[in-house]
């Protein structure tokens, strides 16, 4: 990728990872990018790096703008290795003694990733680094999404370097929101649902803080995917909406796995019942859907219904997987229900029910369990459960 000028003297020198499909368990169907930003002023600053294996590519991109040795300082907004992995190569190339600006937690966390004794310059919110015509103001964004995370803001150009926030796993040569258009939003939504949802209360606080600081944001430069230059408020508004979790769509996501199609038949019958009540339902079989795609659907679903066969007196493993994942991401304001077919002991539906109750889902019925293959009465019970879920979604339950 050629360096792309974002504002005069500010370039994206990052790289495209076209082929990654599994990003620490998150499915990246289109690949992703690792964005890094070069600011050429009286002082030359590099904001963030890339994954280690793309380090040479990063150096090459920088060299297309300026001799890398002319970089005076590096800002590392986040310690995670897809953004800091290029530091050893970069620091070696520009001079190991060059200042490396990090948050206070960033200093601790970088030291636990890299043995090098770099010249760390820890900063706190409100600290300003003068570059010449421009300056960078730092804003700590702890737990968005690591303790070390921070933003760097160039007030002269209204550019916010937002680290992972507002990012999307999207690989493309279209570097900007106005080029991709609305097609970028599902990727931004997936990123939010899988990386940030559990920190929703902090996001709302951060947005209030940014508004109170009166930052004039013209461009948001995240570390993954496209840059928001046409309408940065669009993604900020979406983050507020997703964080509040108050505007769920009238849909139920029916997450299940199945061994001999019995739990599957129940899932389909529940979906039919939801539709009869006037809401929408989407059954998602766990061995066909990646957990991060399921989570994206969960984000704005009014109801989350989970089904499992009973295997070896417990949950089917993929169901245990998704329940662990769901619990960690802390979705709120969900209607829930549990179901499943079983052979002789039938523990799974109750285990699901208890897990959803622990997540404070609003459980609308006892777990529905059916022995072996559902017959007409079992299917009718499943449809009836679906009707109840549908009515609850529409506020009639």
């Amino acid at each position: 990728m050629k360096p792309v000028e974002i504002a005069k003297g500010i370039y994206n020198v990052g790289v495209i990872d076209w082929n990654i499909r599994d990003f620490h368990g998150y499915s990246t169907h289109l690949g992703t990018t690792y964005n890094a930003y070069l600011i050429v002023d009286e002082k030359v600053a590099l904001v963030d790096t890339v994954k280690k294996e793309f380090s040479d590519h990063l150096i090459h991109n920088i060299a297309r703008v300026i001799d890398p040795k002319k970089i005076d300082l590096v800002v590392s907004n986040h310690t995670e290795l897809d953004h800091s992995g290029g530091l050893p190569r970069v620091m070696h190339r520009i001079g190991e003694d060059k200042p490396l600006y990090v948050s206070k937690m960033g200093k601790k966390n970088h030291a636990r990733h890299f043995p090098q004794q770099w010249n760390y310059q820890p900063v706190t919110s409100g600290d300003v680094l003068e570059l010449g015509k421009r300056s960078l103001t730092f804003l700590e964004t702890r737990m968005l999404h690591w303790p070390d995370s921070m933003f760097s803001y160039c007030k002269e150009d209204g550019v916010l370097f937002s680290s992972d926030a507002f990012g999307q796993h999207y690989a493309g040569q279209e570097m900007f929101d106005d080029v991709v258009g609305d097609a970028i939003m599902p990727h931004a939504k997936k990123y939010f649902a899988n990386i940030l949802l559990l920190y929703a209360p902090l996001i709302l606080k951060l947005v209030d803080q940014v508004v109170a600081m009166g930052l004039d944001i013209k461009t948001i430069c995240p570390d993954h995917g496209v840059i928001w230059r046409k309408d940065p408020m669009k993604i900020i508004d979406a983050y507020v909406r997703w964080s509040k979790q108050e505007e769920n769509r009238n849909k139920a996501i029916i997450i299940y796995d199945t061994m001999w199609h019995s739990t599957e038949e129940m899932a389909d019958a529940i979906a039919a019942g939801v539709a009869e009540a006037g809401a929408l339902a989407r059954p998602m079989k766990l061995r066909e859907w990646d957990r991060s795609d399921i989570m994206t659907e969960v984000l704005d679903a009014a109801a989350v219904v989970v089904g499992s066969p009973t295997l070896n007196n417990g949950l089917f493993p993929t169901v245990a997987d998704i329940l662990t994942y769901l619990k960690g991401l802390k979705p709120k304001n969900k209607i829930g229900a549990a179901f499943g077919s079983y052979g002789w002991s039938g523990e799974a539906p109750k285990l699901i029910h208890d897990a959803l109750a622990e997540m404070q889902f609003n459980l609308i019925d006892d777990p529905l369990k059916i022995q072996y293959v559902p017959q007409e009465d079992g299917l009718e019970k499943s449809v009836e459960l679906g009707r109840k879920i549908g009515s609850a979604i529409l506020g009639k339950g």
Binding site: M105, E140, R142, M143, P147, Y199, L202
Partner: protein, 53 residues
């Protein structure tokens, strides 16, 4: 009553508020929190907290 700050994420435990999400009623001092209580934001343990200045 003293407030305590999580040194990992900056969350502040305020005894006057308690931690309703984990069933800690208002009025519980930091030192009286259960030993297995963790930061509601980042999951850090009690040892990672410091008294607020």
């Amino acid at each position: 009553m003293d407030k305590y700050v999580c040194t990992v994420c900056g969350y502040i435990y305020d005894p006057e508020q308690g931690d309703p999400e984990t069933g800690i009623e208002p009025g519980v001092k930091f030192k009286d929190l259960p030993g297995d209580w963790v930061c509601p934001i980042c999951g850090a343990s009690k040892e990672d907290f410091e008294k607020e200045d």
